[in-house]
């Protein structure tokens, strides 16, 4: 093991139902806005209707050859580059790593093609070619005209967090000069049907950590961070918005789909992220939890946080999924951005939808309509995924 280089956040961007960019989303979260709309229309089976969190089409670039997941990613990347005051031409002078997480974005779900193929009527090849040209990191790499390592992380709901961890490691080991890490996912009919089949979708608004929580609400979006080694950032006299201090990933080894009720894998991931960051849990000022609003997830997370010794009186824990819905592969990217912004502001807003925190939890989260100010600058963003994978990022704000 060697001493690792500090990794700076030189730009960030996001798009979600909470807002077309990071500033607007942050304001809406602070105001307690939950911009969900009822979705049925074939997204869910039968007459089932559920609130979903959608991104407005006019917020996305109009590039017809790309699928919606890629457009979401490009919107977030454009914002991140703008915040970093970097042009695409600037990027092209560097080795740029692209690590993006997705779930829907890597699957071939074109129903028209599939129906025609099943019927033996010889489908139009367009959708198949589009699929073969839609590996999200490959597309972003070619769209930006950059060279460097690339990876699509398909680790279900932890993909975005893992992508940022991967991007951080590439920089630490010199594989690239700048890295884009995060995630993107569009709302998908298959995901809606699938999560409904698992009885995880709430027909009401999503209420993470609430005693009356009924499940998750699906959403779409993208969140990315633009990373660099601190040495290069200082040499280039760029703005520093914060640092990705640590990354940890660990498996529950408990069940292929359900989380370990005690959150053992999450505890291990948190321990690794803290160790990687070189800080102790006492330094943590806030935690942006995965907080999906499903009974099993919220129980596992709160048990893990209690077991790790965090104190709810001093460490506010929130979920932002009440404002964005569960955006699957994008969630880790969006939540890393929101965590960084809260750390820079020195204030975190309570969990939208959580009016009555579940008293059975071993750890009490910050409920809706409560704001907490803090003076520390280091926090955690954490994700749990199908397959029992858990990931955590230790993030430091620069106070800007």
């Amino acid at each position: 093991m060697r001493d690792l280089l500090p990794i700076t956040v030189i730009g960030y961007g996001c798009v979600s139902a909470a807002g077309r960019n990071a500033e607007i989303a942050s304001e809406n979260i602070r105001a307690g806005v939950a911009a969900h709309v009822p979705v049925a229309d074939g997204f869910f089976p039968g007459d089932f209707t559920a609130p979903c969190f959608l991104v407005r089409n006019e917020w996305l670039p109009a590039i017809s050859r790309f699928n919606r997941t890629i457009l979401l990613a490009l919107a977030a990347i454009k914002e991140a580059l703008g915040r970093a005051e970097m042009s695409v031409a600037d990027l092209q002078k560097k080795r740029v790593g692209i690590a993006l997480g997705t779930t829907v974005g890597c699957t071939f779900h074109n129903e028209e093609y599939y129906r025609q193929w099943k019927d033996g009527t010889g489908p139009d090849s367009g959708p198949l070619f589009t699929y073969l040209a839609s590996n999200i990191s490959h597309v972003v790499q070619e769209y930006l005209g950059v060279k460097g390592p690339r990876l699509v992380i398909t680790n279900a709901c932890a993909s975005g967090t893992d992508a940022i961890g991967v991007a951080k490691r590439w920089l630490e080991y010199g594989l690239c000069d700048i890295a884009i890490g995060g995630g993107a996912d569009e709302l998908s009919r298959v995901a809606c049907h699938g999560f409904k089949s698992l009885m995880l979708v709430s027909r009401e608004e999503c209420r993470p950590f609430d005693r009356d929580r009924k499940g998750l609400s699906l959403g779409e979006g993208s969140g990315v961070v633009l990373l660099e080694t601190e040495k290069n950032t200082l040499a280039g006299k760029k703005n520093i918005y914060g640092w990705i201090r640590g990354y940890g990933i660990a498996g529950d080894a408990h069940h292929p789909t359900a989380p370990d009720p005690e959150g053992r894998g999450l505890q291990q991931a948190l321990g690794k992220a803290l160790s990687n960051s070189g800080v102790t849990s006492e330094i943590i000022s806030m935690i942006n939890a995965h907080g999906t609003g499903t009974p099993a997830n919220d129980l596992a997370e709160t048990n893990a946080l209690a077991a790790m010794g965090f104190d709810s009186a001093t460490v506010p824990v929130v979920s932002t999924k009440g404002a964005t819905g569960h955006t699957l592969g994008a969630a880790g990217g969006l939540e890393a951005v929101f965590t960084l912004m809260a750390l820079n502001k020195g204030e975190v807003t309570g969990t939208i939808g959580c009016r009555n925190p579940d008293p059975k939890f071993a750890f009490q989260v910050l409920p809706a309509a409560q704001n907490v100010s803090f003076t520390g600058r280091i926090g955690i963003s954490q994700s749990l995924a199908f397959g029992g994978s858990n990931s955590a990022l230790v993030i430091e704000g620069a106070g800007v």
């Binding site: 093991m1 690792l4 089976p45 039968g46 699957t107 071939f108 779900h109 129903e111 599939y114 193929w117 099943k118 090849s125 198949l128 070619f129 073969l132 040209a133 590996n135 990191s137 490959h138 790499q141 070619e142 060279k147 390592p149 690339r150 990876l151 699509v152 992380i153 398909t154 680790n155 279900a156 893992d162 991967v166 490691r169 590439w170 080991y173 594989l175 009919r189 298959v190 049907h193 699938g194 999560f195 409904k196 089949s197 698992l198 940890g248 990933i249 660990a250 498996g251 529950d252 080894a253 292929p256 789909t257 291990q268 690794k272 990687n276 995924a385 199908f386 397959g387 029992g388 994978s389």
Partner: protein, 261 residues
Amino acid sequence: MRISVRAVSGHYLEDLCIPAELSRYLRRADTFIQLAVVAAFQTFLAAGEGYQNTHDDCGLILGTTFGTMETNFEVLDQIVAGQQASPILFSHSVFNAAVGYMATIFKIRGCALTVTDFSFPFFRALQEASLALQSGTITRCLVLQVETYSTLLQDARKTHSVDTHPWNPGAVCWLLETEREEPGTTFHLDHFEIDTCTCDPLDFLSYHETVDLGNRVENTCAPLAAAMVIGDEISCGKDRNVLDCKVEGVSGKVRIILKKG
């Protein structure tokens, strides 16, 4: 820090034989999961280890070109027919389902990642495993490529690919670890690079690659083939001290140098 290739295994679906001790875990699993779990099991056996040890310091990184495509279509079948999706099928259609099974069965608690790319998925997974090992967060890592393709994809190849020989589903698995054995007994990763370039997406249906092993060149035309060929060479080429492998395809090239001593 040196990273050695402790054990290697690989098999195609036609040779898949589920060991009795795994059958209860894999009763409901799809082919993608079965291929992955059996490959990991055989790799642990090849390393001379039992599969039920707890692997706290072991990671797991699975690369794939097309993921669980066939199972995705089985879910789509139900949706298109206006039926409720099966929760088991949907769970298995998630790309990291296989990694979840492996982590549970083999009690692997280190990193567990699935990565997806049309070009060089095994080698991208290998690169991430190498970095994870160098970081010291794990001391061993299973690296896999698993492919099941799909009937739809095989049909599309008949229309759009010059080479229409069906792709064989299968899995390749390597066990990497930070070097603990006496130098000379196993290969270690000496050099690794991936260089990608722009290509026509249709070329992913042909998947022509050349695999130069130093003493011979093989022309392959399937996403799993290069990893399988190099894995075979590691297993069979015990008398070689240097294995300089170059894989070149339409989407770029990979070079791996493995050395003993």
